[in-house]
Symmetry: D2
Subunit: 291 residues, 4 copies
């Protein structure tokens, strides 16, 4: 196939990781554009998308009232930030678990408590994994939770939650309340937890994923990346490596979405442009700007 | 002096900019560490510091009720984000001006309106510049504002607000209400605006700057940078260039501040560390991670 | 039937209104307890219930991203307050319409804009009626809205929205996207709006109504009212009139729900009780306290 | 004096209480209007005023960073609600203490934790009393607090905090940091707490009280009450009793403040007015409406 392939664009964290590994081992047979690390993807889809789709999935799956509940968000990256914001503004008390002290300090600055999962097992009503890692909530954690605690994953694969441990726990009973919503009852305590989407991404399993506006940002990145690959297919600009979209294209994605929301941008004057050494038409920020 | 100087560390945006210019022209005579771009500086001091000190300055200078007012934040970088959050949560309606479509889209995602300064001159009660650029609010803008509109700067030099134009406006009258709080009355309209801190940083001029906790993060960066320069003074690790602090030291700054706020970090298992290729002791994120 | 009927309890605004009318005209044949005006009903079900079920209904019906949109809430009573809070915290810009200057001022204090419907027709993306009145959004309003503006009612009957005017508009075309979600296209503009639940309560039509926790507060009021009527059926305590639950029973409803959420109440000392003339066991507030 | 006195108007909770006691004992020598229970007083001055002036007082007195701290608000009435909202939105984690289960449940619905003071003594950074009762924070509580915990009162008299117990604690040392800001050091632990305004109202002692906009609402009530008393001085309308302002005057106070904030009210049609039995010109709500 590679003869006809001009290049690929990829927007998932996991997919991008594999591309970089292929680049390192020389297994990459064509140019690739990493769309995942566009600002208009990672800081929009991950953050605002999950802020929308976490409560959506919880409501559709369980109809639980979020106000007044204790919600534990495992991980405070972009996905975790969106999830924590959604739970907090819906009236839950939010506790964050983190390995990274910088993200932990960010959580604290928003009034969130940072504790370990073990600290809060018996207190929390809703557990959400957002880490991109595995073995976050193990079956031994689940056994110690409140009756009808809700356990779900919006981060990565179904191994963030120890589904294998749960399914093979001696004497455990699975009661399917409705598709994608199961109550698992432990034989010793007769107490049960509610697992959404079998531990897979709950916003996909229990709701309809992210709303179209935020996906439009992600997909505009894809389209622009594909156009770029196609336009430069004979120029030699792109080697068999992984690239991120240049800043001005990332900014273009955003600009294309402003009109729909009624925004009006300010324009730099020539004088201002000179003063701060920023081109009038952008890009407006250095590559490593954090937004 | 340069013989005895081991190196410098610098935490302001402006200072850092000069260091990079000196590096480019070969004028840099010793190693320099750019502390401004540590996450624990730019995303803390700028963001959370201003979220605290903007309302503090407004209250001390004017005692104005922020709730119900229309606040215009010029610029939605880290400083602007902190200012907008402070005004919004205090009950103001917030309008943002931006040149950068990505930052503009971020503002929209928080429910803020994005317009040009011209659009809102006659409607807004409070104007805050946070851009790091010059000529943001000109005397012609000020003339069109409501009587007793408050105009202030928390971004950069006093040229964000056109103080020169204001001071030299024919027939304008300055009435000092109290030190750092002046009412300027235009002869034609008899209408006046209130300028804080003579257009200089209002959180320094009208309040006491940022609170100690957030400055502690900034200064810990400074101390760590100075220790690093000293420890490596004979090793040749640092040339006559500008460096940013390595990620693990940035994370260390955050970690040192968690205890005071009662946070408890989670620890990666060996297995998890291998799975995501992140060392148990960090650094936990790639260099370009945006937080 | 009246011979066997000991009394009734009623929790809807509309039902209660009818009971008071029957009391006035002498048509009330048995005692009635107005549960609607318990604090634990009107300030919980109406406010927190709608804060939950408005976004739930919007998401299930349309999957629209709320962040960045302009949402108009017609009415800022308890239902409107819940709706406005939900939209604001989800990242919408919220505009309120009101007839009552006190409620309007409350909206302003939360940073919301107060305008008339006519002011915002062409600008808003989502319209929600919460007034309990009729003729709030007329077909002439709908014709001037943006293409694909969402129009829905969470207040009262389907006459808050002029469904009759819409259905009988010459040449209008109804396209059912899915049950309870219709696009209505106007012949002159070819532009369409999306009406939820045929103008009836959208949280019932498009979602599953309020979550069980808040309904439990409402229904506990019902149960307590029924027990009270039964226990006093021979005592003559209740005449053929409409009563509200006494404050201490209202407080009991709240107290019964605290344990589930992990709350621990403080107890007055004898000394404190004397000082403020409040019984240790309550009721803690005068009848007209507003909460 | 009573011969020349037409009547009085009173806006403090404490003053009003005394007037009602005088009415009961027949000691009231002239008509009195209770302005405290106007909605435009109690739900504005108490709530939004304190939301503004609590952080103002904390910042001026201590410059403490509120973000990341644990703030305990004793009491969740109107004053407590304003204080809790201010601390939460400034990034603190807020814990509420309450005797009233309804107010406690309201706190929970906003994501706040409800515990007893004893539960949180060693954990919290900022303690605020808002109860209108006495003996809320006793010297034995203060001894168990963290070093440099901030203790202040925004509710009532200086007996909410046990100042007498503190001042007479054997060996305690008072260090005045600046006027209205004292550090009290306990001899046994060498640990100290910071007491604001000597236990009196900290927004008056450490800041400048409420901002003018919210006081304007309160004082407009006063003016309207005085005009009413004067205009009716010979009509016999007011006996030697305590009255609250009629609803339409309460609404007038609000209406007078809308223009300044750019609001535009909606007007009922005749048809709508008939449908809901509400006069076009108001009053819009029944007397016991809770807002």
């Amino acid at each position: 196939m590679k003869e006809r392939l001009v290049g690929v664009s990829e927007e998932t964290t996991t997919g991008v990781k594999r591309l970089y590994q292929m680049q390192e081992t020389g297994a990459l047979l064509f140019p690739a554009i990493n769309v995942n690390d566009s600002v208009t993807k990672s800081k929009f889809d991950n953050l605002y998308g999950c802020r929308h789709s976490l409560p959506d999935g919880l409501m559709r799956a369980t109809d639980v009232m979020i106000a007044g509940k204790v919600a534990v968000i495992c991980g405070y990256g972009d996905v975790g930030k969106g999830c924590a914001a959604a739970m907090k503004t819906a009236g839950a008390r939010v506790i964050v678990t983190e390995i990274d002290p910088i993200c932990a300090l960010q959580a604290l600055m928003e009034g969130l408590q940072v504790l370990t999962l073990e600290d809060v097992l018996s207190e929390a009503d809703i557990f959400v994994t957002t880490t991109g890692n595995k073995d976050i909530i193990m079956v031994d954690h689940m056994r110690k939770m409140k009756n009808n605690a809700i356990v779900c994953n919006i981060g990565h694969f179904d191994n963030e939650i120890d589904m294998l441990g749960l399914e093979t726990y001696p004497g455990v009973k699975r009661i399917t309340i409705k598709p994608q919503t199961d109550r698992w009852v432990f034989p010793d305590t007769k107490s049960g937890i509610i697992v959404l989407a079998e531990g897979r991404l709950m916003n996909l399993g229990c709701a309809t994923g992210h709303p179209s506006f935020v996906m439009s940002c992600s997909f505009t990145n894809q389209v622009i990346a594909q156009l770029e690959l196609w336009n430069e297919k004979s120029s030699g600009k792109y080697e068999k490596k992984v690239y991120v979209l240049p800043k001005h294209l990332d900014e273009k994605v955003a600009a294309l979405h402003l009109g729909k929301l009624g925004a009006r941008l300010t324009k730099l004057s020539k004088d201002q442009s000179d003063y701060v050494s920023i081109p009038i038409e952008g890009p407006y920020k250095p590559a490593n700007y954090r937004y």
